[in-house]
Structure formats: structure tokens, C-alpha cells
Amino acid sequence: MRAHKASMQMQKQLLKASQWTWQEVLLWALVFATPWIFPGHALIVNEVAIVALFALSLDLVLGYAGVVSLGHAAFLGFGAYTAALFAKHIMPDPFAGLLVGMSASTLLGAVFSLTILRGTDLTRLMVTLGLALILLELANKLDWLTGGSDGLQGVLMGPVLGRFEFDLMGQTAASYSLAVLFILFIAVRHWVHSPLGATVKAIRDNRLRASAIGINVNAKIALVYTVAAALAGAAGALMAQTTGFASLDIFALDRSADVMLMLVIGGVGWLYGGLLGAVGFKLMHDVISSITPQYWTFWIGLFLVVLVLVGRDKLLKPWKWWA
């Protein structure tokens, strides 16, 4: 009887991690209100929601599975171009295009996952970077399809759910992107708290032991990578749909590097790390570049050095400096 009671207690403790807290609910309520609270900034909200989804995707790979990548923009770009082409040539419905963009990136992720199973972190950085560069050059060369260096223009989207037209203020776009971010966030949240999520964390912590308890390490890593590719593809599709445009720079190294910076700012292996990092990064970008447009990278560089050397915890809690 006593043992039974103890295990009930333990079950509660285990399940606590997967339960929603009121802070989380409040946070999301605020997030959804932003396009209406700041109607003039709806376009920025849209942009942040999209990079937050992109950062969430990289966090699955980097933070949860422990796999480094310098070419995550490959999936972002592939989803974007696929969704843009789909809207232009087949059907302008946003959700259909989103699903097509996600599916395309999922397939690409499944294929590319084979390249990250072997080797060290350094080889993975190089391989992922290389694959993104290959896609960049393909998008450049296949200009009959992609528009080449001019980008893919003239993407006209239909209304969301057949009712909500995209407006110039970007309120529809922001709400659409936030809704997609939220739905995918819930899915990922569910996922990381499942037994599967726990096995992925176990692989990150100790591959040798993970294999020694019967986990098929390579299969799980390939699976995480593929799921993350799907999320990045969704972010790319949203980007193309809400801007009506897909251009080559979506595959660029800057994209892959920026999203990694966002994760470093917000914290890896934490669901809200990518989200907060995206918000922080975008805010800093906007504030600093409005003060000093040319030298904003200097300040973000300085911030990163201080952040990494001092540590996030100490930086955010100055009252602990002398404790």
C-alpha cells in the first residue's frame, strides 16, 4: 500500500513536466493578442512568429537530439520555394500550400538525415552547410522554375480558410503564422514529453548507453531530423506565403547562423528557448539598427560574447552577481 502511494506520487512528478502551467497559458494569450495590441507592428510579429518556428525546429535537432547543423536553412528554403510554386501554379490556398511545403521538406529531411548519422560534430557542420549551399546554387541555376537571382515573384495567396484575406497591415498574416506556430508548438511539446522524447534526450546525453538499453540510435536521430525538417519547411512556407515572395537569400548561411544565435540567446533544449531567442534577436535587431544601421552586428556580436562568457542565468539575474 505504501509502495503504491509512493509510485502515485512519482507518477504525478513525471507527468508534471507535461502539464500546462498558467504562466504558459498567459504567455500564449499575450502572444495572440500582439497583432491587435500593436496593429502597426503586425508585420514584425509575423516575422518573429516565423523565425520562432524555425528556431523551434533547430532546437529539436540541436537542443534535444544534440546534433549540430549549419545548414538548417536548406529546409526553410525548400519549404518556401515549394509553397510558393504550389501557390503560383496549382492552388492559392494557404493551408494546402503549407502542407505541401511541409511534406516537401519532410522528404528532404528524411534523405538528408542519412548524411548526419556518421562522423563528428565538425563533419556534420560541414555536411549540413554544404547541402544548404547546393540547394542555394540549384535555386539560382534553375531560373526557369525558381526565377533565379530575381527570386520567385508574383505569388498571390488566397484567403486563409477561404475567409480571411491577407491585408497590407499584416494582421491576417500575423494571426495565421501565430496559429501555425502554436499548433506545431503543441505537437512538439507533446512529443518531447513522450517516451519517444525521453529516448531522444537519452541519446543526446549518452549515445553509448542509449544503444546499450536497446535504443536504435541512428533511427531515432534520423526521425528527429526529419520532424525538424518538416517544422522548418512549415516556417519557410509561411514566409513565402505571407510575403508573397521567395528569394535565394532564404538558403543563405546567414539564416542558418542567425537561427543558431537565437537558440544561444534563448537557451537550447528548452521549448521556449527558440521562441524567446527569436523575440530577443528580432527586438535587438530592430532597436540597435534604428540607432546605428550600419554597425548593429558589432553590438549583437558584443552581446553574444558577454552572454556566453557571463552565462544567461547571471546576465538575466543581476541581483545574483554578488550573492
Binding site: 509510485s7 514529453h193 513522450s194 522524447g197 525521453a198 549518452n206 548507453r209 544503444s211 535504443i215
Partner: protein, 269 residues
């Protein structure tokens, strides 16, 4: 879900019925060095079998070969009559061949409770589930709680593994292996670093496991080995020197020579 049996050849002979784990002429060479030298070892059903030998005798290498961490240069390995020489390490685990490590191999960011719940979920085939939270199944949590109690880990069950004291980490190392529900358990110096008074109890806990768990123990402390084992195999320079009951081994002049430091002479015999 992959069936573990599809990838193995079934080679059952009458001689291997009660023998749960067997190596035949197992050979491992690292360049010019022979780490495992044609080892023939049989682990009987329900055995409490110890593997002893001086440092560098190749005990851990032998375990690495059995579990598939290292590929063998030549020779065969059989688990319950089936050849497993060429199947992947994680599939050997799913067939019941489980090990612990001489140096702790733990999941540092998880708590012992999360670790065990994860391992048990994996063992029950729930490792691929996404629609349930970890711990949603009562039988998983109950088993985790049993293991936490068996290894005196209740007090630290909610502490992050990286921050646990060494002794508790050592116990978790063993609890993880048992959570895999092994048929054959390979223990690589499980009590190394455990305080002297607690070693006996820990080994007794292991020894008292049901007899359908067969155990191969690597251990340096001779007193512990003689208490624990019903059979002892002595490994020297990668080869089996001799095998017998604890009494036979204790009185074997060759073994005495090895352990009294005259190993150099023996090597050239």
C-alpha cells in the same frame, strides 16, 4: 516495430539448451595485439559466473565483443542458441543481453525516475510512443519505483543525475541495466568505487535476482568473487587460463602464480 528474430540465423544444438551465452573461438586483434585470444566461454542458465584476471587481461574487451560495441575479428557468439555475432548492439539488448559499464554511462540531464521510466518504456516497446506522456502508464511507474527502492535511490529519485553523489550514480548504473529486464546480465566491475561496507549488499541484491537471469561478473576483489560465483573463469592475456568452482580456482597453482605477480613467467608457458 522490427522483430528481433528476423535478422538472426537460428542455430540450435542440443548442447546449447541450458547454455544461455556462448562464445566460440572468439578472437579480437587490435593491429598486432591480440586482446581476445580464441575464447570459448559458456554461461549456463541461472549461472552466477565470474570472470577474473589481472589488469589488461581483456575482460572488458570480451564484454564489448559480446554486446557488439566492438566487432570481433573472428569467432562466434550465441545467445540462447541463436547466433548473434553480426547483429546490431541494440538488437542484442532487445534479445535480453544487457550490460553495465565499468565507467558510469548515465543520462546526466535526466533524473533517476525519468531515466528508469524511459528505459522501462523502451523495454516494454513504448519507446516510440508520442501520444502519451512519459509516466502515463502506471505499470511503468510501478516498476521504476520498485527499482528505485531495490537500489536505495528513492531519496534522490527527483535529482538530476549529473548532481548525484558517486555512490548513487553507481547504483543507478545497475538499476538501468535491470530495467532492461535482462536474461543475461554482464556486470563490468559493478562495485568499483562503492564504499567497502555496501559492496556485499549490492552484490547480494544482484545475486538474489531470479534464476532466469544469468549473470557474468567481472570483479577484482577476490573475496567478493568467491562469495558470489558458482563458476569462475580466469582470463590472462586475452585467453582463458582455467575455469572451475571457486574452491578449484582458489587452489589452482597457476592462478596463484598470476595473482601473486608471477604472471610474466606464465605468459611464456
Amino acid at each position: 516495430m522490427m522483430s528481433p528474430n528476423t535478422s538472426t540465423k537460428t542455430v540450435t544444438t542440443s548442447a546449447t539448451v541450458t547454455c544461455v551465452l556462448e562464445t566460440r573461438n572468439l578472437l579480437k586483434k587490435f593491429g598486432g595485439i591480440t586482446a581476445t585470444d580464441h575464447v570459448n566461454l559458456k554461461l549456463q542458465q541461472g549461472a552466477r559466473h565470474a570472470l577474473i584476471g589481472p589488469n589488461g587481461a581483456g575482460k572488458t574487451t570480451l564484454i564489448n565483443l559480446m554486446t557488439g560495441v566492438l566487432p570481433a575479428t573472428a569467432g562466434q557468439i550465441f545467445l540462447q542458441g541463436q547466433e548473434i555475432s553480426h547483429i546490431a548492439p541494440h538488437l542484442r539488448v532487445r534479445q535480453g543481453l544487457v550490460r553495465t559499464f565499468q565507467i558510469n554511462q548515465l543520462f546526466d540531464t535526466l533524473t533517476p525516475l525519468e531515466t528508469l521510466a524511459m528505459v522501462i518504456s523502451q523495454q516494454k516497446g513504448l519507446g516510440a510512443r508520442v501520444w502519451q506522456a512519459l509516466g502515463a502508464q502506471a505499470d511503468v511507474v510501478n516498476r521504476a519505483e520498485e527499482l528505485l527502492e531495490l537500489f536505495h535511490l528513492q531519496a534522490v529519485h527527483d535529482q538530476v543525475t549529473a548532481q548525484m553523489p558517486y555512490g548513487k550514480r553507481r547504483l543507478l548504473e545497475m538499476a538501468i541495466a535491470l530495467a532492461c529486464e535482462p536474461r543475461v546480465l554482464l556486470l563490468d566491475e559493478p562495485v568499483a568505487g562503492v564504499p567497502a561496507g555496501e559492496r556485499e549488499e549490492l552484490l547480494r541484491t544482484v545475486s538474489n535476482l531470479p534464476k532466469d537471469v544469468s549473470i557474468l561478473l567481472i570483479e577484482h576483489d577476490m573475496d567478493l568473487v568467491f562469495d558470489f560465483a558458482d563458476t569462475i573463469t580466469v582470463l590472462v592475456n586475452g585467453a582463458v587460463l582455467t575455469e572451475g568452482t571457486p574452491r578449484e580456482i582458489a587452489n589452482d597453482p597457476q592462478v596463484k602464480a598470476v595473482y601473486l605477480g608471477h604472471g610474466e613467467e606464465l605468459q611464456h608457458v
